[in-house]
Symmetry: C2
Subunit: 121 residues, 2 copies
């Protein structure tokens, strides 16, 4: 039997909405998600978990209360649990997120930026 | 403060040994590891955990008892826990692995292929 891999570019091609992570894989209790970002997100944190960002295309800045990190293609950052952060992408940026299943993109805040956390593509 | 991202290519440039995963990041109880593969590995499984492969360069084949999957650059596969698999790379291949901290590359087998599971680069 020929099993099928998950192709990141093929999956990204099916995402049109910004700031709305889509699940592409599950590993134990964790989800791998893809998202397209452009512009500024909101300050939030995830009190229960670290969150991993991998940039697949473009540049992502993640602001912290005491500084920031700039991620280019092929770069990873682990935002520690409980650390407030605000993603920002001057131009459209494509990322993979790895975090526990059920993690909400806006943390404990629920507002217009809050996206569903259970949509697979 | 300017925080530093983890650059996959920079980290890969520091790996010379084949089949010996090196840790580059930790997310909760999970490790992100990079490895260079070439040739054939051994049959093994991980009874306690799924294991994620992301190909960064080249082509990786993962054989199963009932088939195989072929992963090219930018492709992911989740090997389910308990499923026997044998990685194979006809040419040198670079991968990222995501799995729980402490996972051994040869599963429950210990032989010449078993690499340390706690080395950071």
């Amino acid at each position: 039997m020929e099993y099928q891999p998950i192709n990141l570019q093929e999956k990204l091609g099916r995402i049109s909405e910004l700031w709305s992570p889509r699940i592409i894989a599950r590993m134990n209790d964790y989800h791998f998600k893809l998202a397209k970002l452009h512009g500024e997100f909101i300050w939030h944190d995830h009190p229960e978990t670290d969150e991993v960002f991998l940039v697949l295309k473009g540049t992502l800045e993640i602001e912290f209360r005491d500084g920031k990190v700039t991620l280019n293609e092929g770069e990873i950052y682990v935002v520690p649990k409980g650390v407030e952060h605000k993603p920002f992408a001057e131009n459209e940026c494509h990322i993979m997120l790895i975090e526990p299943a059920g993690t909400v993109n806006t943390g404990e805040i629920v507002d217009a930026h809050t996206a569903p956390n259970d949509v697979w593509i």
